[in-house]
Structures are given as C-alpha cells and as structure tokens.
C-alpha cells in the first residue's frame, strides 16, 4: 500500500457509481460544492449512459490542491452504490484505496480485493427505517451517502448544511428530509467508520476568485452578453443543455419588465437543417443568431453552412462534440469534428473555428464568435465538447467589460445609403476582402438579392467564369485574413525544451499536468495551445522551432495534426499524434505515457501499472 505513504490531503479522486434517474446528481453536486466552499480546487465529471433511467452512471470528483483538474482514471475511493457495476467499479480503485458500499446487503465475496478497504454503511436500511414511500427513500439514500462522504472526507459539516439550506431555501419540507438524511449518513459514518480517511479535505484559500461551471452554461451566458436575440436549435446531446441554459438565463435577463415579454426568440426547429436555416434567416435580418448542436447536426447543416459561406451571411454554430461517427456514443466526449467544421459543405469553403479549452473560454469565445461572424460575414464555429460542455469545471470568475460593444462589421445604415450612388453588395472597396452589407428593410437603396448561386461582385447573378472567380478569390482572402483577428495561440515555453506539444480544446488541462509531471523526469516541453482556425502566424513559428512535435487530441485520425499540416505546410509525418478517442476525457497519464512511449528511451521508465496485484 505504498501510495498511502505520501499525504493525500487535498489530493485525491473518488467516484460515485449509481444508476441514472435515481436523483444522485444533487448529492454529488452537494459534495463537490462543499469541497469548493472549503477553498479547495475540485472538479466533477459525469459519465452517463444514453438512456433516461435504470442504467449505470458515474460521477468522478477530483480534489487537487495544485489545481489539476483533468480526469484521472484510477480512484482512491469508490462509492459503489450500483450492484450491476460492482465488479468494474472495484477494479478501478488503486491498491490501498477504499470502497464505500451499501451494507444493507452483503457484498459478493468474489469482489472483495484484499488490497482495498471496504467500508459498509446500511444506507437502504437506514432510509427505509426513516422515510416513507419509495420515492423519498430512493432520493434520500443519495443524501445519506453524501453524509457518509462528508464524514469520511472530513468536510466541514456546517458548509454542507448551509449548501443544503441554500438549495432548498424555499421548500422547507424538502429541506428537513435532506437534513435528516444527511445526518443519518454522517452520524453512522462517524460512529462506525474511522473518520476522516487519509484522503481528506482540509480548508484552503484557493477558490476565492473561481467558480465551478459547465461549458454549456458559460457559452449560453456568453450568447446573452454578446447580445444574441435569436437561437434556433434541435435537441441533441450534449448540446441541449446549452439551449436549456440560454433559455433559463434569458428568462431572468431578457424580460421586458413592463410587458413580461421576451427580448429573445428561441425556436425549437423541426430538425437541424431548419435550425441552420433559421439562424441564417435571422442573421440576414441583422439579429445575432446562433444554434447549438453536435456532430450529426453539423453533417445535416452542411448545405446551409455552404450557403452562409458563399452568400456571406454571419452565423454562429456551437458544436458540442461527442463520439462519432454517425450516432456514435452520444454521451461520450471526442474532438472528432475539426476537419468537418473547418471545410464543411461541398465546393471550396473554409470556416473560422474557435476552440475553447474550458467553460471560461466558452464564455469569452461565444462573444468573440458573434464579433467574428459579423466582421467576416461568415459562419463561425465554436468547437466545444461533451466534457467541457456538460462537466463541472473550476475556472476563474468571469469578468465583463462594460465598455464592450458588438463589432457589427461593415453594415451600411440608412444614412450611409443615402449618400452612396449605387450599392454593390460584393465590392471590395477597401481591399481587405470584406464588402459592406445592408440589412433588409432599412433603405430602398440597400436592397439586393442574396443568393447561393453564382454571383458577381455587384451582387448580380452570373454564370461567367471571371466574375465568379473574382468573388471566390476574394472569399479566400477574406477568410485567410481572419487569422489576424482570431484569438492567438497560448504558448508556454520551458527552459531547454527541444520537443513541443500542440493541443487544443479540452485536452489543455491534461497536457499542462503532463508537462508538470514530465519535467521532473528531465523532459522539458514547450507547449502551444491552438485556440482558433485559420491559424495565426505564431503557430507556424512554433512548428518551425521544434524538431519534434506531438499533437495531442481526442480523435482517431489526428485531425488537428491534419489541419496543421495542410494549413502551415509542415509535413504531416513530422507531427506525432497522441491522445485517446474512446470517449472519456483525456488524462495526464495518457499524455505522459504517450510521450514516454514515443521517446522510447529506457531512461524514462514507464509509470507503474494501474493495479499491481490484480
């Protein structure tokens, strides 16, 4: 039990195995929030099945004083509430770790590993004795195990109770039951188990300027702050919660007080094609409009994305990526839509991508997406993923600069139109590749015919080769020039580094942690995080400056490496792809092992296997 030897205070991970639809989410959130309130960095990841009730689901909580919040694949403690998954759950605990189980029934003996501590609490029995009705018994069992956890992990009982109080402030009867259940678990644990465990939480002051938020809520909030007034969507996991959040925010933040009417229109479309069409229609009118979807939706929207590109209509697409191809694994994460989004639709196209790495960036990039879409009059994709979008991330508190005003790009208003002779929609007057647009209804002189068919720079229909080419060449220049305006890459250099890592999006935290853990082994790494496409110049420089570059991403085919190679000119073979694509969030261990494997030297010993005596 060697791993016990060093302190695990504020540095451990545990996992709660339950069944979905059983209401465990509130109990899990309670524990996660209590740790946060104690000032200790914490994160939570939900692993749930693609159904509604009765299948295994897990919640993973990592506590790390250094602020590392990437997923880790082995756990110090397993809260094994689901008999159907006992076997695999027990298997995921590190040697020397703990298993908390419901001792109302005996554990199957074949699962008893002798290198683990089994902690039994008769949760079902306690709840059956103290609550009436199946409904309440099921619900309160969750709060009861939260009580046990509070005791085992040494949580501040007052904070836990206060949280409960906040949650059920306006529902006294529920609060009472919750208090009671919490107490049942807490007291039984204190009475019957050795509390707290060596893995435990001690108050710190490391979360004062932070929040815990999911990326979909943050992106939705970004859309509110960006001034988006139309959202059109079709339900699809894992993007649905972004629209849910947008709707909830707008319910509070976008009501006209006098009339109780809404300053936003949220349209549930009949399918993704319609959602994309609505976004294009609304943007055509000059509203900031967006949709949120996932891979299958982007495939279906492809034709309309091409229309927006060619007719030069702003449009913002949030792609909360999930494991593809096809329906794939709807409740698993992946970064599999990079290539698709970069070049979506037939014919020659190229699109602006923003790739946030966490909920904080989801917020800021949502705002940026609208500015870029209007500035460049083109579709902009925000490529988030299920891990970022639906999990609970520790991020710095969001800030807002009240002097911000939307960049509407080149839009001629009634006054401008009065003064010009003849409006020509696609004329590149100032040679920056961007032509001015007009909004319908504003002025008769601004009228023109938007179309996805061949048109010339004056905005008229054409089948003429030269006229067509002229517009297409400008479009190329226009999108390429966006490289100067998209968020630049984040770069961290290390003294003496000869190898580089490039990554993007949700891999960021695992990569940072892996760099920290490679350093003591004598491996210094420079790191660049791509934040947008088309690629800004520093990305080429970074590639040029490193002999060996690993590209860390979460898909099978190395799509980021592909894009880098295509668009910067570095040979594809010079980029070594690393990462996992099985649908689970990346861990530092995945990166470290990948790098060590690739470096292949005996000087860098492999990490010990997950479970020595399995």
């Amino acid at each position: 039990m060697s791993s016990d030897s060093h302190s695990r205070v504020n540095n451990f991970a545990f996992k709660i195995a339950t069944v979905n639809g059983s209401g465990s989410a509130s109990a899990n959130a309670l524990i996660r929030r209590a740790i946060f309130r104690m000032g200790v960095p914490v994160s939570g990841k939900n692993l749930f099945p693609s159904n509604i009730q009765g299948l295994p689901t897990w919640y993973e909580i990592r506590v790390n004083a250094d602020g590392h919040t990437a997923r880790i694949p082995t756990f110090d403690l397993m809260v094994a509430m689901n008999p159907a998954t006992y076997a695999r759950d027990v298997d995921e605990v590190r040697s020397g770790g703990w298993v908390l189980h419901d001792s109302s029934w005996p554990l199957p003996t074949n699962l008893l590993r002798d290198d683990l501590h089994f902690l039994g609490v008769p949760l079902a029995r306690l709840c059956n004795e103290n609550f009436a009705g199946a409904r309440e018994r099921i619900l309160m069992k969750n709060i009861a195990y939260a009580g046990v956890l509070a005791a085992l992990l040494g949580l501040d009982a007052e904070i836990v109770q206060k949280l409960l109080g906040e949650t059920y402030a306006k529902k006294k009867s529920l609060l009472d039951s919750n208090y009671k259940a919490l107490g049942l678990g807490y007291d039984t644990a204190i009475d019957t188990l050795e509390c707290p465990l060596p893995i435990r939480v001690e108050p710190m002051d490391a979360t004062g300027d932070s929040i815990i938020m999911d990326g979909n809520s943050a992106a939705a909030l970004g859309c509110v702050y960006a001034g988006a007034t139309v959202a059109a969507w079709y339900p699809i996991t894992p993007s649905t919660s972004m629209i849910d959040a947008f709707q909830a925010f707008c319910g509070k933040l976008r009501k006209e007080e006098e009339t109780d009417r809404s300053r936003v229109a949220i349209l549930q479309a009949e399918d993704e094609l319609a959602a994309a069409g609505m976004v294009v229609g609304a943007n055509w009118m000059g509203a900031r409009a967006f949709t949120a979807t996932s891979g299958p939706g982007i495939s279906l929207m492809s034709e309309i994305i091409g229309l927006a590109y060619y007719a030069e209509i702003p449009a913002v697409f949030f792609d909360i990526q999930r494991a593809g191809p096809s329906t794939g694994m709807p409740t698993r994460t992946q970064q599999g839509d990079l290539m698709l989004c970069a070049y979506a639709s037939h014919g020659d196209t190229k699109h602006i991508l923003l790739i946030p790495s966490d909920p904080e960036e989801c917020f800021y990039f949502a705002v940026k997406a609208f500015d870029l879409a209007e500035r460049f009059q083109t579709p902009v994709f925000v490529l988030s993923d299920l891990d970022i979008g639906m999990n609970d991330w520790l991020v710095p508190r969001l800030r807002w600069d009240d002097s911000y005003r939307p960049d509407r790009g080149k839009v001629l208003d009634a006054e401008d139109l009065e003064t010009i002779d003849h409006f020509q929609r696609y004329l590149d007057v100032d040679a920056d590749g961007i032509a001015a647009r007009t909004l319908p209804g504003v002025h008769p002189k601004g009228a023109f015919f938007t179309r996805g068919s061949g048109h010339n720079k004056h905005g008229a229909y054409t089948e003429d080769a030269d006229e067509y080419v002229d517009v297409m060449e400008r479009l190329r220049r226009k999108i390429d020039s966006a490289a100067l305006h998209v968020p630049s890459a984040e770069i961290r250099t290390a003294r003496g580094a000869s190898i580089g890592i490039i990554s993007a999006g949700g891999c960021h935290r695992a990569v940072l942690e892996s760099i920290d853990s490679l350093a003591p082994r004598g491996i210094a790494v420079d790191y660049l995080r791509v934040r947008a496409f088309p690629f800004s110049h520093e990305i080429s420089s970074f590639l040029g400056a490193h002999e060996r570059v690993f590209v860390v991403e979460q898909n099978r085919d190395g799509q980021l490496a592909n894009l880098l190679s295509l668009e910067t000119g570095v040979p594809r073979d010079s980029l070594e792809s690393l990462g996992t694509f099985g649908g689970l969030p990346l861990s530092a261990q995945d990166v470290v092992e990948g790098v060590l494997d690739a470096l292949g030297s005996a000087a860098y010993p492999k990490l010990p296997p997950r479970r020595a005596n399995a």
Binding site: Y225, G286, I304, W400, R405, P440, P444, R451
Partner: protein, 351 residues
C-alpha cells in the same frame, strides 16, 4: 446576367398609388423563364397586388427556394431585399427572419417540388408555427428547372416527357395545410389574374401563415400522352437524349372563373382542369365546412379556387413566442447586455 436587366423607362402618365409609386416601381429584372410560363403571370399578379396595397418596396422581404418558380422574386420588387435560398429550406429561413424582424412583410415563393418534396417538413412546420408570411406555391406538377420529373402534386396518370406514368396520389397543399391547422389557405390560377390579385392582397395582410396555391402550368414539361400537342411522337424513336432540347413557343393560358362558377381550362398539352370558384356568400372562417368543401370538390374532379379559409383569431409566431413588440434586430445592445454587476450576481450560484 447584365444583358437581361430590364430598361427602366419612366412613363409619366402611369397611375400612382398612395406612395406615389407606379406599378413599374414594383417590377424587377426581366424574366428568364420560358415564353408562356404560368409563373410569369403570377409575377404580374404579385406586382399588381403589392402596388395596390401601397407597400413600400423596401419593407418587403422576398424569399424563395430553388426552381423556376423560385427564380421569380428576381422579376418583381426590384427594390426589395431578396433571398434565393437553397432547395426546400425557405420556410425555415423565413421563420428565422421573422423572429429577428417581425415588422417586415414576408413574401415567399416556392414550387411544388421545393415545397412538397424536399421542403415538405419545413412547410408543415412553418404552418404549425404560423409564421406571418405570404407563402406562394407556383404549382405545375413537375420539376421545371430539372426538366420535367414528376413532383408530388402530379396527378395520377400524368405522363412525363419521357413517357413514364405517375402512379402516386398527388399531395394537395391546401388539403394538407388545412389538416395541419393552417390559418389562411387560398387557391388561384396563374391565368386568372382578376381573382388572383385580391387573394394575394388578402394573404399579404393576413396575420399569420397565408398559403396560396397557384396552379401555374409549365409550357415545357406538362405533357400528357393523350394530348394532340404531345411531343412524345416526335421523340418516340429518337435515339439520343440531346434531341429533346426543344421547347416550342407557347402563349400564356388565361381564363377567369366567376364566383360559384366552374370552368374547364385546356392546358398546353391538351389536358383540362375544372376550376371551381367559391360561390358568393361562402364562409371561409369555418374550418369544418371548408375542409368538407375542398374534399367535396376534389371528389367531383374539380379544383376549388378562391379564398378558401381564414382563421379569425390567427396568432402568428412572434405573438406565440411572447417576444417584445419591437423587432429583435433593432433592440439596442444596451437593452440586451445585463452588464458586469449582474454577471457577478449570476456567478453566485456557481460557487
């Protein structure tokens, strides 16, 4: 193509409307459709309707899908913003536009291919949403622009230029729309401008989705085997497909049907349609009796014409959504952004 821009000559003697505009001010570019195409007659009716309604051209947003019919918005209202979208998706684009700017007058033109095949789902859902717009189907039973395949409104027994026979039941957009609870439904005939113009005017003033199905014959591809004017004979033994590129010159078919009357109109191909105009005193506000009337005429082998249904208390999409009165696209940013203080407050729940 620049060479087909219609010359704008001012005729000082032309009648003007309340805005001081003449009907010519509501025209667009020169048509590129076949000579005699029904769609051009519909264009003329649209121009007259918007002229007579005194609509400021730039406050109209005209939309279409893809097809010969969908080209027509280029030929009217040259001073209105237009959007020639992709095939079948226009209803969705119109819904988004209306959500963003509820104040404009939306005028959509589509074809039976665009609306009843690829776009059928969107049309049905725009009806359910009750998007405030005139939605015109220029219905010819074929895919004109792709050269004469059957559309979903082709009658059973119709033969294509290539000689195949259609065996699928046609979709009657009016019947379908009534089933879906449409708030306005009317049918016209491209050759009967007298009755089409008032229908279009009513539709443009309706506070919801106004479906106007216009029978609009295609001179190039409406071709029945029994017809004396059939092209089939000439092509029967022709070996090469390229030989079939001839569209004979044709004149527009016109025929006006009086209220309550029925009139048999002969199409380019020799086939006939029995148009039945709703009688005087017909009540278009009772969905029940309207459905019965439409089905009854259908059974009698007639095509019911006229303003068939209007829902008295129609509630259009934006009302239903409960959005503010002002167009969302015109709301100042200051009204939309909650500001930094509010952001701090919001974040309390994430701690």
């Amino acid at each position: 193509m620049t060479y087909i821009l219609k010359p704008k000559v001012r005729h000082p003697g032309l009648p003007t409307n309340a805005l001081g505009l003449t009907a010519r001010d509501y025209e667009g570019a020169m048509s590129t459709l076949c000579a005699g195409c029904g769609h051009d007659s519909v264009t003329a009716a649209v121009i007259q309707a918007v002229f007579e309604l005194d609509l400021p051209p730039h406050r109209v947003a005209k939309l279409s899908g893809i097809g010969c019919s969908s080209k027509t918005p280029t030929y009217f209202l040259g001073q209105a913003h237009g959007f020639n979208a992709v095939h079948g998706r226009m209803p969705a684009i119109a819904a988004g536009a209306s959500a963003a700017n509820r104040d404009l007058i939306y005028l959509g033109v589509s074809g039976d291919g665009d609306s009843l095949s690829i776009g059928l789902g969107h049309l049905c859902h725009a009806i359910r949403r009750n998007v405030r717009m005139l939605y015109l189907i220029e219905n010819n039973g074929v895919y004109g622009l792709t050269k004469g395949q059957f559309s979903a409104s082709a009658d059973v027994g119709t033969r294509s230029k290539r000689g195949e026979e259609n065996r699928q039941e046609p979709i009657d957009p009016i019947h379908l729309a009534l089933t879906l609870g449409v708030s306005f439904a009317a049918r016209g005939f491209s050759g009967d401008k007298v009755h089409l113009v008032p229908i279009l005017k009513a539709a443009l003033q309706h506070d919801g989705f106004a479906l106007v199905d216009v029978i609009s014959p295609c001179v190039a591809f409406n071709d029945h085997v029994g017809s004396t004017k059939s092209y089939l004979h000439t092509r029967e033994h022709a070996q090469l497909a390229v030989l079939a590129d001839f569209i004979p010159p044709a004149a527009e078919i016109t025929a006006s049907v009086e209220p309550g009357g029925v009139r048999s109109v002969t199409m380019h191909d020799g086939s006939t349609i029995q148009f039945r105009q709703v009688p005087d005193g017909y009540d278009p506000t009772n969905r029940e009796s309207v459905e019965n009337y439409v089905r009854e005429r259908q059974r009698a082998g007639e095509v019911a014409m006229g303003l068939l249904y209007v829902e008295p208390g129609s509630v259009e999409m934006n009302e239903n959504l409960g959005t503010v009165d002002r167009p969302l696209c015109e709301l100042p940013y200051e009204e939309l952004c909650p500001g930094s203080a509010r952001l701090e407050e919001i974040q309390l729940q994430y701690r």
